[in-house]
């Protein structure tokens, strides 16, 4: 099934880094695909190369081996990807409006037009009151909403999310997860979402890729049998706890090994 979908195909991806301690293999033979309008989560312990994988797809890093291919070419001016970072993703020297419009600005959209579009989007997600605020005036959760809004407005082929809610408190996280699902329902596109939160992965995605680290490899691909549209009440579904337990069993060994806790 891996190559049957119209979307993104990563084939035999490998990435090595040179460090002072010598060669480090961050990723090894990573093969997977993301289908059109599919929401895929990658879950794994910290240091398993999740961020490296996203940066390869975002072209911020070059793979040592393997290929990354999109089945379709981008429409005029459309970027391949837009990445949402865990922290420090939005520019502190730009207002919320300028930040949200940044993707369009880089695509060469004129000032008036991009501000018009950004304003419309900001209004839709309820940030209108803060259009002219600077990031330091916003809470961490609000900043991530700005980063996500910017990514959606840039209208890329794929959205890459690197633990966007990782630094937020548990309640904020729940609300933003629902908001992400709501925005995505209206603007369906490929999402590759990296997290270490198993529940987050299961509740958001159509498919979970479980990764282990050093070198980073994909252990298993788990389809999530929950329907769409979906909200967070899905967590009470009996399948969810079973899947969560299954994923945890896969990751537990490595987490214990990293912490030097005997099994």
């Amino acid at each position: 099934m891996a190559f049957a979908l119209m979307g993104l195909n990563c084939c035999q991806l490998g990435k090595e880094f040179k460090t002072r301690q010598g060669q480090v293999i961050a990723l090894e033979e990573v093969t997977f695909s993301v289908g059109e309008r599919e929401f895929v989560c990658i879950v794994g312990p910290s240091g398993c190369g999740k961020t490296t994988l996203l940066k390869l797809i975002a072209k911020l890093l070059q793979p040592t081996s393997g290929t990354i291919a999109f089945d379709t070419n981008p429409v005029d001016g459309q970027p391949r990807s837009a990445m949402v970072f865990q922290e420090q993703g939005i520019f502190p020297w730009m207002t919320v409006l300028e930040n949200v419009a940044f993707g369009l600005e880089m695509q060469g959209v004129g000032r008036q037009e991009r501000h018009h579009q950004a304003h419309a989007f900001i209004e839709k997600v309820g940030l209108a009151d803060f259009a002219h605020s600077y990031p330091h005036e916003l809470s961490g959760g609000m900043r991530q909403r700005v980063a996500i809004t910017r990514a959606f407005l840039a209208d890329p082929q794929i959205l890459l999310m690197d633990e966007p809610f990782g630094a937020l408190d548990a309640q904020t996280r729940l609300v933003l997860q629902e908001e992400l699902l709501r925005i995505w329902r209206e603007h369906q596109k490929m999402i590759l979402f990296v997290t270490h939160d198993i529940q987050e992965a299961v509740l958001l995605s159509d498919r979970v890729l479980v990764m282990t680290g050093r070198p980073g490899r994909i252990l298993e691909e788990i389809p999530i049998p929950l329907g769409r549209p979906r909200n967070l009440t899905a967590r009470d579904h009996p399948d969810v706890s079973e899947i969560k337990w299954h994923i945890w069993k896969m990751l537990e060994d490595q987490v214990r090994r990293d912490l030097k806790i005997a099994t």
Binding site: K55, A58, K59, L60, P79, S81, A82, M83, F85, E87, Q88, G89, I90, F91, P92, W93, M94, F102, G103, E105, M106, Q107, Y134, P135, H136, A154
Partner: protein
């Protein structure tokens, strides 16, 4: 203390606005601001009294009233304006000639690791030299005229600018570069939208330090080798023992220094409205 705080409230203020105490309290609402002013007034009063009674030498410490009279006389005759103009033109020209290349070098050194590796050793080696000690060498090269003075100021202004601009770029989180690149920014856009605004707080700090050093070197150079300028006035006043002129020049130089710093503080508030530290600045 309690009545002072009351005076800070609009309601309490209105009734006292008419008398002097009320006005004073409105300008300086709390004790922390009133005390320094009180101390200055007390010291000046003591100074005036001791100078008039002859218990301190007016050769070293002319009475504040004499200094103010001298100041007023120099101001009225246009003498002060001429000297101030000479100092300011050297200072600003030297500052511009030094800080502009400092800005360009600093930003590009922060941006390019290779350029930094090549140039940083030279900056690190030359920066600790007290720049005023280079004056004789500069005079040998550029002659005794105006050029050597301006070059000395420029050399002094260059280094704080280079170092702060470089640091300004280096402290920008790498994530911002990743974000810009991910959205397709080219080198020019990265420069315009990330490097320039991201380094601006430290660039302005560099400008402030450069300007202060430019003032220091301008006055020093004038003390040693000039016919005109506030430094030359001080030197002449010392040689002719006209101490009150010396003090009058010092007042102008202090005002200049304070003025520069206030100006750059305001500029920072305007240009960097996004900076978190500004609230305490």
């Amino acid at each position: 203390m309690a009545h002072l705080e009351d005076a800070g409230r609009p309601g309490a203020q209105r009734s006292e606005d008419s008398d002097l105490g009320g006005k004073l309290r409105r300008v300086l609402p709390n004790l922390e601001q009133q005390l320094p002013v009180a101390i200055i007034v007390a010291v000046l009063a003591l100074w005036e009294w001791r100078a008039r009674s002859g218990s301190i030498s007016t050769l070293f410490f002319p009475a504040p009233s004499t200094i103010i009279q001298t100041f007023a006389r120099l101001l009225a005759s246009g003498e002060l304006a001429i000297q101030l103009g000479a100092t300011l033109s050297r200072l600003l020209l030297g500052f511009a000639l030094g800080s502009a290349p400092g800005l360009i070098f600093g930003l590009t050194m922060g941006w390019s690791r290779r350029l930094r590796a090549v140039i940083d050793p030279f900056v690190a080696a030359l920066h600790p030299i007290p720049k005023i000690s280079l004056l004789p060498l500069i005079i040998i090269i550029f002659g005794i005229g105006e050029t050597s003075k301006i070059v000395a100021v420029a050399v002094g202004s260059f280094f704080p600018m280079v170092i702060n601009c470089m640091a300004g770029v280096l402290q920008i989180s790498l994530t911002y570069f990743d974000v810009a690149k991910n959205y397709g920014a080219g080198p020019l856009q990265v420069f315009k939208r990330v490097i320039l605004p991201g380094s601006l707080p430290l660039v302005l700090t560099g400008a402030r330090i450069s300007l202060n050093i430019a003032l220091l070197i301008t006055i020093s150079v004038e003390l040693v080798a000039a016919q005109k300028g506030l430094g030359a006035v001080i030197w002449l006043a010392w040689q002719t023992l006209r101490t009150e002129e010396l003090y009058a020049s010092l007042i102008v130089i202090s005002a200049l220094g304070i003025g520069f710093n206030l100006f750059l503080q305001r500029l920072k508030l305007r240009l960097v409205p996004w900076h978190e530290d500004l609230q305490n600045d």
